[in-house]
Symmetry: C2
Subunit: 175 residues, 2 copies
C-alpha cells in the first residue's frame, strides 16, 4: 500500500477476526516498530508480544477499557525502559511516550498496509502490568497495540470525522 | 513510496537544503498528522507551522539542541491542548505525548514518502515556547518536527544501527 494512503485511511478498530497473524507478517510489523527513531537515539522502547489467551486476559485486567486485548490476535506491549542518566522523572517519561507513539504508529501502519487492523490500549495500572509481564522496576507500559484482522464491519467506515483542518493547523502563532 | 519501505528507510536527519516545501506537499503532510488517531478520540494535538526565519530562531532559543529549527524549511510544532475533563496531571500528559508521537510519525512518514527529511526536536523550556507561539495557559509543546529537503549527505547512510531485534522483542513476558 502506498504510504500516504495507508496513513490517511488507517482507523483504530476494536473488532477483530480470530485468524492468527502469520509469523513473517508479525516479524515485519515488529521490525517497523524497531526502526522508529528516538530522542538522542536513546531507544527507550521495547516490544513484548503477547498471544497466549491467559496472558492476554491477565493484561486486560490491568486497564479499564481493554476488551480489545483478549480478542486480538497479538498484543504488542510497548515498554519504556528508564533512561540510564536520568531519574525516572516527568521529563524523561515525557519524551519516552512520544517515542513510543512513533513506534506504535509504525507498527500500526505496517500492519494496516498488510490488511491488519489495530487499536492502542491504555493500561491504567502499571504495577499490575509489571507483575503480569515480569517487568523490572522503573519500567513503564506506554501502551498496548492490539493487532488482528478486521472482524465485523469495514474498519474504514462509520468512524468519527477528525476536527476541521482550520482547527488543527495554525500558522506562525496560535492566535 | 510503499508503506513498509517508507517506515524502515526513514532516518531522522538534521541537514536540510534551503529549498522550500511546495504548499500542496505541506498540505498533505499536515493532513497526515491530522488523520492520526488519539486515545478516546480526544484529539489533543494541534500543529503550528512556523516558516518565518525570525519565528524559527525564537523557537530554537527555547530548547538546548535546536540547530535544525532555524535551518529547516518548515517547523511543525505539535501542541497538546489540555483535556477538558481532566486536571493537567501526569496521566493526561502521559497519553498526550503518545498521541503526539503518532501524529509526528505520520507527518514524518508522509514527508519521507515525498523525499522530505525530518527530525523531531525537544523544546526544554515550555514557557518560552508558549510566549513565542502565543499559546494559552496549560498548552504544552510535545515536540517540534523540523522538515526540509535533505542537504549534505544521503540521510539513509551512516546512521547508527538499531538495537538487535532479540533485544527489542520479547515473547509473552519480559524475561
Amino acid at each position: 500500500m502506498e504510504t500516504y494512503r495507508a496513513i490517511v485511511t488507517k482507523r483504530d478498530t476494536r473488532a477483530f477476526d480470530s485468524k492468527p497473524i502469520p509469523e513473517d507478517v508479525l516479524g515485519r510489523i515488529l521490525q517497523a516498530g524497531r526502526m522508529a527513531g528516538s530522542a538522542k537515539a536513546a531507544e527507550p522502547v521495547r516490544a513484548v508480544v503477547v498471544r497466549a489467551q491467559a496472558q492476554k486476559e491477565a493484561l486486560a485486567a490491568c486497564g479499564r477499557f481493554t476488551p480489545q486485548i483478549p480478542t486480538c490476535a497479538a498484543a504488542v506491549v510497548l515498554v519504556l525502559v528508564p533512561e540510564p542518566d536520568q531519574p525516572p522523572g516527568q521529563f524523561a517519561y515525557f519524551r519516552g511516550p512520544f517515542d513510543a507513539g512513533r513506534a506504535g504508529q509504525n507498527i500500526m501502519l505496517a500492519a494496516w498496509s498488510e490488511g491488519i487492523a489495530s487499536c492502542p490500549v491504555t493500561l491504567h495500572d502499571n504495577d499490575c502490568a509489571r507483575a503480569v509481564l515480569g517487568l523490572p522496576e522503573g519500567h513503564l507500559v506506554a501502551n498496548v497495540i492490539a493487532l488482528g484482522y478486521p472482524g465485523g464491519k469495514d474498519p474504514t467506515t462509520g468512524s468519527r470525522p477528525r476536527m476541521p483542518v482550520e482547527q488543527y493547523v495554525r500558522w506562525e502563532r496560535w492566535g
